[in-house]
Symmetry: D2
């Protein structure tokens, strides 16, 4: 019973089939192949953004950090939530790729920035002078690191603050499919129509082996991006195998189907937590549950072999109730979900 992370799970059969299909004879390298072309078009279609620049990389850290380097100079200020993946979980990759930019972190309920917190911070940064560096960009995550979701109007409100200050808005969409599945809106509505300038559209946690799309809605903001990707070792010579994964997910709505499956499993667990006397720390809006549960419940789950992280990581042992994170993937077995739910609500 593995609820440690959605990246603990596998690739969808359609992804593997797409790899086999792409494995057909010689094709020119470095993206000059028809599979890459088709995948780019599929992502543009998915986003209703026919002019968007779409590039594929293998990891979410690469995707995010490359966008940061593209949109921020070395002396830039990058505004994000204090629990943002780019701040907590990428080993200072944004700073490395951007050669020293500073992540300016802000608090916020549910892992979300608000215009009320962002506006004064951006304003202070604008007045920080040489000492503080130059305002460069705003980054949000959707779904967030706390499993919550920004609605289009929330994104719009943040974009308004960012754009008023001349800053582009980046969305880390490692779990973008999960967010869209919950929102029930189109991908366009919660991205470029809401003011997002650059999107990292995650495939890995959605059912790929290792594939993410970096999307710039305004081609002018993507100038020279390929050089950055190349210089950081993220241009694949056999590009087709990255592209094929994203193509499979983007075909026939598979990406949304898989996200809905994962989200539904999280709903089951979230319900169980509440029935069993635990408390949700955040509403369950995507494929993860953040909750506290009685220590006895935790002990039973451990005995049953359930794998998951206490959250935040490294909290002291011996707490009661116990804070934890449960993450579901599209292929987390239903019997595991049921088994854990039974423990949680008992």
């Amino acid at each position: 019973m593995n609820f440690a992370s959605d990246n603990a799970y596998g690739a969808h059969p359609a992804v593997l089939a797409a790899l086999s299909e792409a494995n057909a004879g010689p094709m020119m390298g470095y993206g000059a192949d028809p599979v890459t072309d088709r995948a780019v078009e599929a992502i543009r279609d998915l986003l209703e953004a026919p002019e968007a620049v779409v590039r594929f990389v293998a990891t979410g850290t690469a995707a995010n950090a490359l966008v940061c380097a593209q949109l921020s100079p070395s002396f830039g200020r990058i505004y994000c939530h204090e629990d943002a993946h780019i701040e907590t979980s990428e080993c200072a990759a944004p700073e490395f790729f951007a050669h020293g930019a500073k992540l300016v972190t802000l608090p916020g309920l549910g892992g979300k920035l608000t215009p009320e917190s962002l506006a004064p911070a951006v304003s202070a940064g604008a007045g920080a002078g040489l000492n503080g560096g130059r305002n460069a960009m705003v980054s949000i995550t959707n779904a967030t690191e706390w499993g919550t979701v920004y609605a289009p109007e929330e994104v719009s409100a943040l974009a308004a603050v960012a754009h008023a200050a001349g800053l582009p808005l980046h969305m880390d969409g490692a779990r973008f499919a999960n967010a869209v599945a919950t929102l029930g809106c189109s991908a366009a509505q919660v991205t470029w129509q809401a003011g997002v300038d650059a999107l990292c559209l995650g495939g890995t946690k959605n059912g790929a082996m290792a594939a993410e799309a970096v999307v710039f809605f305004d081609p002018a903001q993507a100038e020279d991006f390929d050089y950055r990707r190349k210089q950081s070792g993220h241009v694949f010579s056999k590009s087709r195998y990255l592209a094929a994964q994203m193509l499979a997910l983007a075909t026939d709505g598979l990406w949304l189907d898989l996200a809905r499956q994962a989200n539904a499993k999280a709903q089951v667990l979230g319900q169980a937590v509440q029935e069993g006397g635990g408390q949700l720390l955040q509403p369950v809006q995507s494929n993860a549950v953040f909750a506290v549960v009685p220590a006895a419940t935790h002990a039973r789950a451990q005995s049953a072999g359930a794998l998951y992280h206490l959250w935040p990581d490294k909290v002291a042992e011996g707490l009661d109730p116990v804070p934890l994170r449960l993450v579901c993937a599209w292929d987390t077995p239903d019997r595991d979900v049921s088994a854990l739910a039974a423990i949680l609500c008992s």
Copy 2:
């Protein structure tokens, strides 16, 4: 009446005289000259550290950032106060020099870290894994950005935490002389004898034109440091002119005399603030006063032409009382101090 910063003031005549004296015929460049030799020895004597590696640079930002790059890899975690100069006022220079290190900032009264705040943060960082980066170093400022001073035993306690975790301790001593003047201890007592591994000993704010000494007490920690200094453009070909400034300050205790003068002026202002109905935000322990004063007092001071910063910078206009920072240099005219004091206590 300029109380904006100690760097608004000039160089001591002895510094200028030392430059003239150093201007005597040809000398080999890049530090291979007798003035540099003598200045290195003078700083070693000042610190009672005959084996220390001593190098000169022209700015405090260069000094601090070079030490960070020397002691932290690109994936390092550098622990410091949230108001540390390296965090707030160096345009992400540490991140730039260290190619992406992450400053992990901690709160603390009076701009000071405490073992109680540092220890759990270091411990959490040690468990952060690849995501969080590797613990690299601890940095403190003495005197602090809030004008307070770490006593030797406070430094020792922090060094104990750092060293227990295998981390070196850096002291940003842009106003080191002011701290030592207040403490009444030796420079050695509050640095290497208390566990400091690297010291940036400031000359600029102490009466030089532009000169700082970077000191590594353990030569092994300074390996290859000269390459870093060179690669960042901080090796002067005519090294003697940097060295002469520090030599002048280190001669006959001038550095301490000047710091005492500056500190005494701040005491006068601090006293006046309290007499006039203002409140000190921090005890006056060096050459700066952080206080709130009645808006009417502020208005009178402004009318009288007093220059100083509201603090923190960019606070809203119209506050009452008004938070401000008053900084004194060794050569802030006594008549200006008296004049401002008269306004403050009236």
Copy 3:
């Protein structure tokens, strides 16, 4: 008929099968999975190096640049051939990863360094002082960018020069299998037994989709390498899919079988060039042919639809004879090889 590059060809069925096999249920991420463990052991076995540190990345540029950053400081001098891939074809990735290191390039027949060229360069670098930077490492490519191969004794002679100067020796083995297939020696003999400290063992051009192994024979030289890999976005969360590719190649000697196939095809073409009045620019020792052929032959090949690069790239049109590069992969169709050979020798 595609002879443009070995990366224009596909993945071996065994690689795809290994991916499917690895796709079995949940596994912990970031390398803590059994597939990664098995692949590491397989590479260690292949190299007869049970203590080696083995890590997987997806691109050769990433592999090489990460090794450069691991072994060179920002002020380091990296010695390599002037036609080395790290110099000509990685968009300054080594300089980016190492934050500014300088590639010191040397000429050499057949893309190979010799002790006679390396020793004086290293010696000059050792005396370059702060101006020139610090000697850091030596990098060679095997098989080379000109399709030639270093024999173990040639590697040993270079390693002797490097080690005498305290410098580690890196081998870019993007086509390592092709070299070993030609040499008929063991992988150990031409690497660690000959003094190689770090090896980039290429999988992509050998029949993988996108997989390379970075190997440090001395674990002490790999300290903190995982942080570099993470910070540059080259740690895969679903590590098993990278590992599975290398595992497939390392199993039952597949890597060597595929290299032998590719090499044999190149021999056919090389023979044809000579029979047809062309001239080999380098002996055919791996899977590429560098030659000049009569313009008429080139014209016929183009008419027949043969894809290949003029070499060096961007030579003027209209030359006679025409310099070109023909690269074979394990799965270049024999009928294509025969067809091109027929044109070349006619």
Copy 4:
């Protein structure tokens, strides 16, 4: 008798006097002072460039490397002579500041690029694709590292090549005064009127202690430059002391007077070399002599205590004739020049 370098000599009395004069009471820091304003205007006047952005730093390496970072991205190709100071003598500072740019070096007589060598290199770079990086800028040195001088029409010809390719032209003018003194043209004629976009105007070797001006003739190309200067630790808080040095040199033509003095001394030595059976390796066009002299002459000079470098550095001992470099400063004593000349021509 020191002919090792012009940086072995001192500062002109007018420079010291300017420092004393600038030492007058409080002034706002970081460049917001009247001395800086006056120095900026003086440099603009000197260059007949009233709109130019002028900034001061303390070292030539900082000046050059900052310009490289300003004009080149991390994946940029910077074209320069193979003996350019930025390539040979700055410890990879341009690569460090620009985060990995690649210096593409070209040969050329007398340390000079020619349109004939530059044009095909730039053209090849334009076609280098992602592998090779993106063309970024061209850098020349005037006077060159071999003591020769580019005339305005030579600069124009190179600028034409650069600009045709969309690349800005940088001039490293560490010895710019010496070049202008020889050319007899205006500073404007050999810089912006000839197509130079950015100039590093050296003060240190011209009679300052440590001061250089960075000049961008088109303000648009200087955007955000101050952030770079700050982030690299090259913004002085007491800016006036940097500015005062350049102001002194720019006043009443002192910079040209001093350069003429230095150049004249070099002419004496160059004449003596030829009279004594030595040979000039380059015509003496600035303040340095590059020559080979009989070993016996070299031995006599050494016995007489003359300090100078063999050139290139680290040539084997025991050569006959001996290649050497003799550099004169404005204040190299005439008696030393005469004494060495007597030895050289005897």
